[in-house]
């Protein structure tokens, strides 16, 4: 019974550690997978981004400002339609104002500030931001002198790749639960063999202080030393008890004599 208490505590501790480890790993891996899928989707959208950029570059080379490119809105609409991943495309000025967009919605107002900040602040040409169920992939446009002349923001709905993320998460959860069960099964015999000595300490403690068996040869090292300590302590205790008893006897004799004198 007392062995069970110890084994259970140890098993629960190990189990909790493995559980904590795998639970944290699962949640972080889910984030990692989402970020990988997001990066892959953004990279896919950037194929269209680079096409738009090359058109803007050609116009800039002949001195045509971005705003004045003829049929540019239709062109980006056609490009957006060529890739089903892309929901909409916006072309922004260097201060973040929308110059062209494929539909009337553009970038939602509640995300605009964060998207513009991210697109124009990163040192790289491409940037990605996931926000409120939307994936934004930015691409800075540079003029011939290397100055930023605007940016393309390609938007995709996360619902396109969410099933894959949920599926991986579900699969990993099942696998991790299996791992926990497997580890628990392996742990049991390991705990039983490793903590035999400690269990014998529990058995010693459970026997009671004064009921110790003087034959300690069967005990493992730790418990035999504990038993020895108990035994030394018992001798001390009995010595004190004996002294008190003799005092009590002497006191009783004195009381008896006093009563007789009276």
């Amino acid at each position: 019974m007392m062995g069970k208490e110890l084994y259970l505590k140890i098993l629960l501790s190990c189990w909790l550690v493995v559980f904590t480890m795998l639970a944290m790993q699962l949640s972080l891996n889910a984030l990692k997978f989402k970020s990988l899928v997001g990066a892959a989707t953004a990279s896919q959208m950037q194929v269209v981004g680079s096409t738009i950029e090359s058109v803007v570059d050609r116009a800039e080379q002949v001195g045509l400002p971005l705003e004045e490119i003829d049929g540019f809105k239709e062109f980006i609409q056609r490009e957006a339609a060529s890739d089903t991943t892309i929901e909409r495309i916006s072309v922004l000025s260097p201060v973040g104002l929308s110059i062209f967009q494929t539909d009337e919605f553009g970038i939602p107002d509640q995300h605009k500030k964060a998207v513009i900040r991210r697109v124009f602040s990163v040192p790289d040409q491409e940037s990605t931001l996931s926000m409120g169920g939307w994936l934004y992939s930015g691409r800075l446009l540079y003029d011939s002198s290397g100055a930023v002349m605007g940016a393309i923001v390609l938007t995709a709905s996360e619902s396109k790749f969410m099933p894959s993320i949920i599926f991986v998460q579900k699969n990993l959860t099942i696998i991790y639960i299996t791992i926990i069960m497997l580890i628990t099964a392996i742990l049991l015999p390991a705990i039983l063999s490793q903590f035999r000595a400690v269990t014998s300490i529990y058995m010693l403690l459970n026997k009671g202080v004064l009921n110790q068996d003087p034959k300690l040869t069967n005990h493992p090292r730790e418990s035999s030393l504990i038993a020895e300590k108990i035994s030394v302590g018992n001798s001390m205790f009995r010595e004190a008890e004996k002294s008190i008893e003799s005092m009590q006897e002497a006191n009783q004799v004195i009381d008896f004599e006093k009563a007789n004198i009276k």
């Binding site: 990988l36 990993l172 791992i179 580890i183």
Partner: protein, 679 residues
């Protein structure tokens, strides 16, 4: 009566628990990493194939557009350059070709329904993933797309998915999973330490303490009966037996038996056998949680500042990006000695909790910041809290350790800081990716609050207050002045502590990344090489400290480690490869495992030679000078790199550090000899 042997149940239990936990964690880690990579490999492929398909479609559309303007398919020019440019730009595509005639095969690329791990051939997937991880690339998919002109198929685009890209991606996923795993294993390890301590080892420690007291003839009241279970019941039984004796003695004393009083005194029947309640474990979890909270922002701070930079900010954007880190270091440098003085006056627990106020306000400031100026101010505020909290936690450990385990105690402090740095940085980067930069500061506030609650519950009120009166007298004296007159303390600072920090910040943080970049190592490879240092120190440092405690020669260990760290850097001379840098960093991690905790102990031992010096004052001065070393390191190495090449810089830096260590050894040896002669 004598006890023939002595054991430490706590140590015996801890080593067994550590063994069992390590085995279970390793098994779980191996299986989970493999499962993760298999899943990622299987489910990421459709996205890479989709990208290749998009590139193929782009080529098809562009060619069809050209054909629509009237250019015949056979007369198209510049196709090869166009395709080469696309292949260069999109790494997911290995080859792109445009061929006449229709395609023979059109592949379906995106899987709509995902088979479960169980339903698909798990063994085959595992075999595939392992072969990908070891770098063997096999053909993944070919995308064909027909090119039409006026409704007739005139040619087709054929695009191959790049298997090398998949190999690189999966290897990156593997290493990332490994990093995540190391981070979560370190967190889990903190959990197991506390859990087993409170649940399993502590009750047995109390039993052992009670039995030791009883064997020495101390039959008073033992603590631990309330902990329940078998150990609690046993202590209760001991107390009840002792109670019986106490009552009998009390009755005898009441009856006027004078010898009963002396018997009660002899067996300490009326005493409460109080063991030292505070342990090193107390400070471990609150400090770890707080440090994780603090390190969360490390991976994205420059990007965060860049995002919020306003033209009205103090300096130019390039300067502002680095300013929060510099201001943080500067405030920590300034605030540490003040923090130490406050710890000596108000006690460790109170200061730990008070330090959280500026720290949390700083995080809140970063969350609400709209300019780089506000971020700099907020980080400085957090730095003040960080300085107070770390010095209070370090001096808490220093206050309670005994001679036998002092290096191990400090190794816990060092290990907690390093583990928290690793976990916090790795987790912070991932969180920022997911919830955005600003929200990470909310996570920091949450974690710092949890650290506060844990600190309130776990840190002992008594620590810092036992010596409060004596400390109060000591702090009135000029501890800095006294310590500066302590030759041994000054020598340790100058010849060991500062060189160690120069090696850490100058060599590891500045030299290694630049040198590896010059050797064409990728950013990820650089990160992994640098991480190896912490990965070696975290497990080795407690073992090295245990060795230092057994040897009881902390200063000698520090001197040898300083010399060896210098010699290690010489390994880079005339050896320009990523592998040699990796080896040097690994050896440096090993050598520094023997240096970190013993250095603190050696400095404190030296400080104790001066009268009226508290451990906290010594620690604060050591930390302040270590910070100075941290600042000097990059500057020194940067200046050297202006004049010399990488290998000469490493060699000269290494030789100088080894020389400084040797000088320290000679001085210590000579002084010891003189001291012995004078004695």
């Amino acid at each position: 009566m004598k006890i023939s042997g002595s054991i430490n149940i706590e140590a015996s239990m801890s080593s067994r628990l550590f063994f069992i936990t390590t085995i279970s964690m390793l098994a779980a880690a191996t299986l989970s990493i493999l499962a993760t990579v298999v899943e990622f490999n299987y489910h990421l492929r459709p996205f890479l194939i989709a990208k290749t398909e998009t590139v193929a479609h782009k080529v098809k559309n562009d060619i069809e557009y050209a054909l629509s303007t009237g250019v015949p398919f056979s007369k198209l020019k510049g196709i090869d350059e166009f395709l080469n440019e696309l292949t260069r730009e999109h790494l997911e595509v290995r080859s792109l070709v445009v061929l006449p005639g229709p395609a023979e095969l059109k592949q379906k690329t995106v899987t709509e329904e995902f088979p479960t791990m169980v339903s698909r051939d798990a063994v085959q997937e595992l075999r595939k993933t392992i072969s990908v991880l070891v770098g063997s690339s096999e053909k993944v998919a070919t995308i064909n797309s027909n090119i039409q002109s006026e409704g007739v198929v005139v040619g087709h685009v054929s695009a191959d998915v790049n298997p090398d890209y998949i190999v690189a991606q999966m290897q990156s996923v593997f290493f990332d999973s490994f990093v995540i795993l190391v981070a979560v294993a370190l967190v889990a390890l903190q959990v197991v330490v506390v859990l087993t301590s409170f649940n399993i080892t502590e009750p047995l420690r109390r039993v052992e303490f009670a039995l030791n007291q009883r064997a020495r003839g101390n039959l008073g009241f033992y603590y631990g009966a309330s902990s329940g279970g078998v150990p609690g019941g046993f202590i209760e039984q001991l107390n009840s037996l002792n109670d019986n004796l106490r009552l009998k003695c009390k009755a005898l004393t009441a009856n006027g038996v004078g010898s009963a009083l002396s018997l009660a005194k002899k067996y300490r029947l009326n005493e409460k056998c109080e063991q030292r309640e505070a342990t090193i474990i107390d400070a471990r979890i609150p400090l770890f949680i707080f440090c994780v909270a603090e390190e969360l922002q490390k991976s994205f701070m420059p990007l965060f500042v860049a995002e919020h930079y306003q033209p009205s900010d103090f300096f130019d954007k390039s300067i502002m990006i680095g300013l929060p880190i510099s201001s943080f270091m500067f405030v920590v440098l300034i605030a540490t000695p003040f923090g130490a003085r406050l710890v000596d006056t108000f006690g460790n627990r109170r200061l730990f909790l008070v330090g959280l106020i500026p720290a949390v306000l700083g995080y809140l400031g970063c969350y609400m910041a709209s300019s780089a100026n506000e971020i700099v101010f907020s980080r400085s505020l957090t730095a003040a809290g960080y300085a107070v909290i770390t010095i209070s936690a370090q001096s808490y450990i220093a206050e309670i350790f005994v001679k036998e385990n002092r290096a191990q105690g400090m190794a816990i402090f060092v290990g907690v800081l390093m583990a928290a740095t690793m976990c916090g940085t790795a987790i912070g980067g991932i969180l920022a990716d997911w919830i955005g930069y600003k929200s990470v500061f909310l996570v920091s506030i949450l974690l710092a609050s949890v650290a506060g609650v844990m600190g309130y519950l776990m840190l002992s009120k008594k620590v810092g207050l036992v010596q409060k009166q004596s400390n109060a007298n000591k702090v009135k004296t000029n501890s800095i002045g006294i310590l500066f007159r302590n030759t041994r303390f000054v020598l340790i600072i100058l010849f060991c502590a500062i060189p160690a920090k120069i090696v850490l910040t100058g060599f590891l943080y500045l030299f290694v990344p630049i040198y590896l970049a010059s050797l064409d190592a990728s950013q990820t490879e650089i990160g992994r090489v640098m991480m190896l240092y912490s990965l070696i120190i975290i497990p080795i440092s407690p073992l090295a400290s245990s060795f230092a405690d057994k040897l009881n020669r902390n200063l000698s260990i520090v001197i040898v480690a300083t010399v060896l760290s210098g010699i290690t850097l010489l390994g880079l001379y005339q050896s320009a490869s990523t592998a040699s840098v990796l080896l040097v960093v690994a050896i440096l991690g090993l050598v520094h495992s023997f240096l970190k905790a013993p250095l603190i102990i050696a400095a404190m031992e030296a400080a104790e030679l001066s009268a009226d010096i508290t451990r906290t004052s010594a620690l604060s001065l050591l930390r302040t000078f270590e910070r100075l070393g941290s600042v000097a390191g990059p500057v020194l190495v940067a200046v050297m790199l202006v004049w010399m090449d990488f290998q000469t810089t490493a060699a000269i830096l290494g030789a100088s550090i080894a020389l400084v260590g040797l000088m320290m050894g000679i001085i210590t040896f000579a002084t010891r000899k003189t001291n012995l002669l004078s004695t």
